[in-house]
């Protein structure tokens, strides 16, 4: 059933009228044209649809639009400040931590959430914190290096 929900995305307030069961992923991609958040599995197994909701990583494919009322959502499009990339984005770029790049948005969002919680993660913490995200090209070695680099302030 349609209802109207109010939430902010990347600092912009939005009022979205839609079916309450519709996934946040579809609302972002189809209604707000924020296509950087991607569909990979629809079951919360791949993490390509990751966004930050009130600072925590959620799988937007598994999150109903109705749950978003009053929330602050940050997507991959909202991580950079103007032309300055978020440190995690810069680290992924510097490390070339992607092949096809389709998982990259979700990886970066997951890593940003991880580093917010654990600014100096051990390798085991990086592995556990990123394990919900799949890279089918298996660029895991580079991605792990990128997360380490971001944690070390870009070094």
């Amino acid at each position: 059933m349609d209802a109207t929900f109010h939430f902010s995305v990347n600092g912009e307030p939005h009022a979205v009228t839609t079916d309450e069961q519709r996934p946040l992923l579809d609302v972002l991609r189809e209604d707000l044209q924020l296509t950087g958040t991607r569909y990979g599995c629809g079951e919360g197994q791949c993490g390509a649809c990751s966004v930050l909701v009130d600072g925590k990583r959620v799988f937007s494919c598994q999150t109903a639009a109705s749950k978003m009322d009053g929330k602050k959502i940050i997507t991959i499009e909202g991580l950079a400040s103007g032309h300055t990339l978020h440190p995690v984005q810069q680290a992924f770029l510097d490390e070339g931590a992607f092949q096809c790049g389709y998982c990259t948005s979700g990886m970066i969002v997951a890593a940003a959430a991880l580093l917010k919680e654990k600014p100096n993660p051990t390798d085991a913490q990086i592995r556990d914190g990123m394990n919900g995200n799949l890279c089918r090209c298996c660029s895991y070695v580079r991605i792990q290096s990128a997360v380490r680099r971001a944690a070390a302030g870009g070094r």
């Binding site: 839609t18 079916d19 069961q21 519709r22 996934p23 579809d26 991609r29 189809e30 044209q33 924020l34 296509t35 950087g36 958040t37 991607r38 569909y39 990979g40 599995c41 629809g42 079951e43 197994q45 791949c46 390509a48 997507t75 991959i76 499009e77 991580l79 950079a80 990339l85 984005q89 810069q90 992924f92 770029l93 070339g96 992607f98 092949q99 096809c100 790049g101 389709y102 998982c103 990259t104 948005s105 970066i108 990086i126 592995r127 556990d128 990123m130 394990n131 995200n133 799949l134 890279c135 089918r136 090209c137 298996c138 660029s139 895991y140 070695v141 580079r142 792990q144």
Partner: protein, 704 residues
Amino acid sequence: MQTIPHHDLSRDVSRDLSRRGFVKLLGAGILIAATDAAAFGQARGGRRGGGGGRMGGKPVSIAARVHIARDGTITVLTGKVECGQGARAEITQAAAEELRVSADQIQLIMADTGLVPDDGMTAGSRTSPSTIPSVRQGAAAARLALLALAAQKWNLTPEQLRSEDGTITHPASNRQISYGELAADEDAIKAFAKTPSGDVTVTPVKEWKVLGTPVARPNGRDLVTGQHTYPSDVARPGMLHGKVLRPPAYGATLASIDLAPAKAMKDVIVTQDGSFVAVAAPTAFGAQQALDAIAATAKWDRTAQPFSKQLFDDLRQHARNVPKNSFAAEDPAKSLRAMYTVAYAQHAPLEPRAATAEWEGGKLTVWTGTQNPFGVRSELEKAFGLSPDAVRVIVPDFGGGFGGKHSGEAAVEAARLAKAAGRPVALRWTRSEEFTWAYFRPAGVIEVEASLDGNSKLASWHFININSGPSSIETPYRVAKSHSQYVQSDPPLRHGSYRGLAATANTFARECAMDELATLAGADPLEFRLAHLEDPRMKAVLEAAAKRFDWAGRSKTMEPNVGIGIACGAEKGSYVATCAQVKIEDGAVAVTHLAAAFDCGKVLNPGNLLSQVQGAVTMALGPALREEIRFENGVIRNASFGEYRVPRFEDVPEITVDLIDRPEVPSAGAGETPLIATAPAVANAVFRATGQRVRDMPIKLKHA
């Protein structure tokens, strides 16, 4: 109603494919037609073989390859796609090198059939050995044409001039003119209309400034900011979202359906053409609701379908003319007879098939993710009775292919829906559709019989691959009597290409068998291999991997439940050796270390190559340890990432990679071969850890 031919994703197509298209693809047909023409692709045939059966790539004019605008902007055009293997960076480098500019001065347009030459499909590791040389020829010819024009203008000879950063200079007189100024000239247009002869002198390796360096992905910033438009992201004005009704099982045919529930929904378009039933709505959610409503009314006629538990028996039973081993063993105690199996696997690229189709004035444009843009164009031509100039296929850099996106199912479906809706339609397959209705990597049974002579040297080798294919089927090891053969069977599922094709299956069986033979010979697995090898490149990768891994040291100090294994192979002109260490924990195999050495001739981009090799050896852990399609009576039982377990962060071992750069050897592709030695290295390590021989992929431990 007009009946439009469409993809039958059922078993019948698999048979068609397995007998014609696929065999052609695997066989001699995949080899490049090495002409002296400027642009050449793969000689291919068959539907799945791409290019609609046409030769991929004809000689093209300079203008078809390189465009220089008045403002000096250089645009290079190629029919190749980018889906993760780095073609965008490497083709850019090739053009930059020959035009004497930096990589960031080149804008590369890939895989838009309305703009680019047909370079064949992006498959078979052909971008490095065929497209890169074509692009270098075209770019070098462009630069020479511009030099000749400048020389003519100044009444000099080209040898007196230099070209650098998009400008031609005459150092002696300090004159200069930009490529852009020259290219606007009538004479330049005439010169660029010519097709280069194919023997244009290109920059020798020792003078490379751009090729051979780790140039980053040109659109990397768009990837990290989410700005890149993948095929799934393409949006058109007035676009609807489509969903297609799928049968409940392979072989099921639609007996009846009531479309009324969907027709009653607001803004929903419903179309039926025989068994093709699809809906479109303003949102994907709305389309799914409409589809669910009519799917509930569908009646299906089901037929008996195969089960994965009988797969290998079925493949053997249906194998045609399996030859017997004609080499009798001298000493039966020194002979091996073993059967290896390789399960069906799915490519599971992270971006499922997706297409957006738009009709305008009888012309069709489709944006889609495919490794075969011109092949998909020809599928669309056939499906709708259109001429090539009425169809344009645009392939944005897409989310993974791995040999799984040679076909245009989603493109044809989206175009049918868009035609019915009279509006653009986006169709994005779900993960479950991708697991179920995309073609699979073939399953196979490999029968090996081999024997040793009195000196514990390989005496005979009889190697039969049933169903999965002939890639890498010939043994690289010295043996007096040898017979290797691929035998067709009657596969139960629709199968096609996969990264490395059957090289993975054949290398798995051969390298596991070699390990068993080394044990029979009482020899170290590395020494046994080296003693039977002549190819210096194969020896070099084995020795490099073993050295990095400290094979000798680890062999002496093995802890309980820990084992090491080694394997090597060559395919499509490149060589790989991989060492693996495993630990058996709670009855499961954990891979703790992989050391790979790889040689693909001259390295075009070391950063990209390292990434490919690291990724490929890791990706190969999936089919080695867990990836296996299970099916029962024509229904895929593990059509999700929850049930079909691909490698995750927690599975990634310590990985070391040695790249062997050979400036004197032409560059071969590197997107496939690095995969092939992982599974046998792991299997051989499992034997050392447990005493159990592993003859199945994925590896299954028998519990004591």
